[in-house]
């Protein structure tokens, strides 16, 4: 459990500016929550590079290779069948199945990686219990910073967020 100070903003510009200034201030910015993706935040927040696309690529290529392998095994080795004099390994007509299944499994791998990297699924989050956090999925912007232990420091951090333009500052647990 981490104690957080959650600043709520109504204006996107002020919020982005607040995130930038909070990073320069002597406090740890934990996360920023927004109702739509903000490119500025991914620049301001140094998140680890996502592995979604490499995983998708690997999953797709591996599945396509397996699918082709299955076709080859069944049509050439296990059940060779002369279909109108065509070669047993009729690769142009074998392409569709690896292609379609490769894309499908790439998508599934991407989704699984997305869930893992986004820390989902979870059905309960202490943030949801804090009144007003629901605004982050609607029209509010939330900035979470680590809550100082000391009372004076905590007040100073809350004042700093208010100074950045937060309309409310709450203590929450994460």
């Amino acid at each position: 459990m981490t104690q957080l100070l959650l600043g709520e903003f109504t204006d996107q510009r002020r919020f982005v500016e607040a995130v930038r200034r909070a990073r320069d201030a002597p406090c740890r910015v934990v996360e920023a929550y927004t109702p739509y993706p903000l490119e500025e935040l991914s620049v301001a927040h140094s998140h680890r590079a996502s592995r979604i696309r490499p995983v998708m690529f690997a999953g797709g290529v591996l599945t396509a290779a397996l699918a082709y392998g299955l076709e080859y095994y069944s049509a050439v080795i296990n059940y060779p069948y002369n279909s109108g004099g065509r070669p047993l390994d009729a690769w142009p007509t074998f392409m569709l199945v690896p292609f379609a299944t490769g894309i499908l499994v790439a998508a599934v791998c991407g989704f699984a990686t997305f869930l893992f990297e986004a820390g989902m699924p979870y059905l309960s989050n202490p943030l949801f219990a804090s009144g007003g956090f629901g605004g982050a999925s609607q029209d509010r912007f939330m900035l979470a910073i680590e809550c100082p232990q000391d009372n004076d420091d905590r007040s100073a951090a809350a004042e700093m967020l208010a100074g950045f333009g937060a309309i409310s500052v709450r203590e929450v647990q994460s």
């Binding site: 109702p35 049509a75 009729a90 199945v97 790439a106 989050n125």
Partner: protein
């Protein structure tokens, strides 16, 4: 140099929304209120539609039961015209089923902002249409109980699927496409489910949407990986869609029948799919706009741009038809030339002329801006296009099979009541699924419209 970009963004936002819907809270309210505050909405039209579509769905199920019980002989198919309404319906539905993902992913890759208001129900349309399309080849099989033989599995018969068969390609293409479309659709829905969870007034609603939202909280990390995934899925979606309908074209083009053995079929089928799909999206957009009073989010500008795409597609379709006729004449093959003559003057000629009227002539009205910006006119022409595209699907089958190489085998297809029941019944099933969708799931992508509005408001 920084100034022109926000100005363009602002103009872009204002183009696709009306002033009364240019606030995030208003957008959330417009989309979420019908689902969360049901008592304050009149659902009379919805119930009427639900009852009618439920009756049509029952007719569909009765027909399917009869087909399973008595065989496909209850349809008008005969020993010459072995494919009939079921295969035409399959091609028509899969065409419509193609369009949602094609529209959504292609417009996403091309950064077309107007997709924000339309992609959700276009993708839903895809899902339902592709599901219905998947039913038809199965019920058309003489022995539908053996349809699982299409799958490769170790079996005591020691046989494997025939990988060179277009039927096997169909199976894998449709299966992959439906599952992919579900995933693509669901990923786009997750942030909106979170909005619904947070706006829900009742515990049950919050639990329902909360479970579907998977704990989404809108953190910058989540948005970062969400965007990565969504864009990657769009990149994969476009080739998958193109391959799917190309395969449907190959079902015909891989044969040796006159009129089917043409290399133009795959691209021609893909454009046809986009054409009928856009027509269906335009119809659904008009209905959603009317039913949910979304005039501020689905504007005449949306209909204008969709009409332009339909116009372009109608020209390509006209060109494709002309290419077929030219090839038949230029190739010099007797059967091909005879087939073209049969199309224009044979037994099905009135339907063929109607097809050209619906698909090529009437959509030329979209050259006029007044027609494009009239929702009623776009709706009517879109319905006509869908009828025309259905006629095209049925005539591709009827003409070739009724008039192949062997004159002694020429026969005509006469549809029975069960042919019509299965066709109109499938429309009912589609309507039923769509009505349930609009009652449960946000019909417009709220987070994308929020972003569109925010971009317009940023300096």
């Amino acid at each position: 140099m920084a100034l022109p970009i926000p100005v363009e963004k602002s103009a872009e936002s204002e183009r696709w929304t009306l002033p009364e819907a240019r606030s995030m809270e208003v957008v959330n309210a417009i989309v979420a209120a019908p689902l969360l505050e049901r008592s304050s909405w009149s659902w009379r039209a919805w119930w009427i539609g639900f009852c009618v579509s439920l009756a049509a769905t029952m007719a569909f199920l009765v027909t399917v039961f009869l087909v399973f019980y008595r065989g496909i002989g209850i349809w008008g198919v005969n020993s010459t015209v072995v494919w009939g309404f079921a295969i035409a319906d399959y091609v028509w539905w899969i065409g419509i089923g193609n369009a949602g993902t094609l529209i959504s992913s292609m417009l996403l890759l091309m950064r077309q902002r107007w997709r924000a208001s339309t992609n959700r129900f276009a993708e839903a349309m895809t899902l339902f249409a592709a599901t219905i399309a998947g039913i038809f080849p199965i019920i058309h099989l003489g022995r539908p109980l053996y349809f699982y033989w299409l799958t490769p599995y170790p079996n005591t018969m020691h046989v494997w699927p025939q990988w060179r068969s277009a039927l096997i390609w169909d199976f894998w293409a449709i299966l992959s496409y439906i599952l992919f479309s579900i995933l693509f659709w669901y990923v786009g829905l997750i942030p909106d489910f979170a909005t619904m969870r947070d706006r829900a007034q009742k515990r049950g609603q919050a639990a329902f949407y909360g479970a579907l939202a998977l704990g989404w909280c809108g953190s910058s990390r989540q948005w970062q990986v969400y965007e990565k995934l969504h864009l990657a899925l769009a990149c994969l979606g476009v080739p998958l869609v193109v391959s799917l309908h190309s395969v449907v074209g190959m079902d015909f083009a891989a044969s040796l029948m006159p009129g089917w053995q043409e290399s133009i079929f795959p691209p021609y089928f893909v454009v046809g799919a986009m054409y009928s799909g856009f027509a269906m999206v335009a119809c659904l957009a008009a209905l959603v706009r009317w039913g949910f009073r979304m005039h501020g989010l689905i504007t005449t500008a949306h209909f204008d741009v969709m009409a332009k795409i339909m116009l372009a597609a109608s020209i390509i379709m006209g060109l494709s038809y002309a290419t077929e006729w030219f090839n038949a004449w230029y190739g010099g093959e007797r059967a091909d030339r005879s087939l073209v003559m049969f199309e224009f003057a044979g037994h099905y000629a009135p339907l063929f002329w109607a097809l050209l009227l619906c698909n090529v002539v009437i959509p030329q009205a979209f050259w006029w801006a007044g027609v494009r910006r009239s929702v009623a006119a776009v709706f009517v022409i879109a319905v006509i296009i869908n009828i025309g595209m259905w006629l095209e699907r049925i005539l591709i089958i009827w003409n070739t099979l009724s008039h192949d190489y062997l004159p002694s085998a020429w026969r005509i297809f006469l549809p029975t009541i069960w042919d019509w029941m299965v066709t109109f019944g499938s429309l009912g099933l589609f309507a039923l699924m769509f009505l349930v969708f609009v009652r449960v799931i946000p019909v417009v992508s709220m987070h994308e419209v929020r972003k569109l509005i925010a971009e317009g408001q940023s300096p």
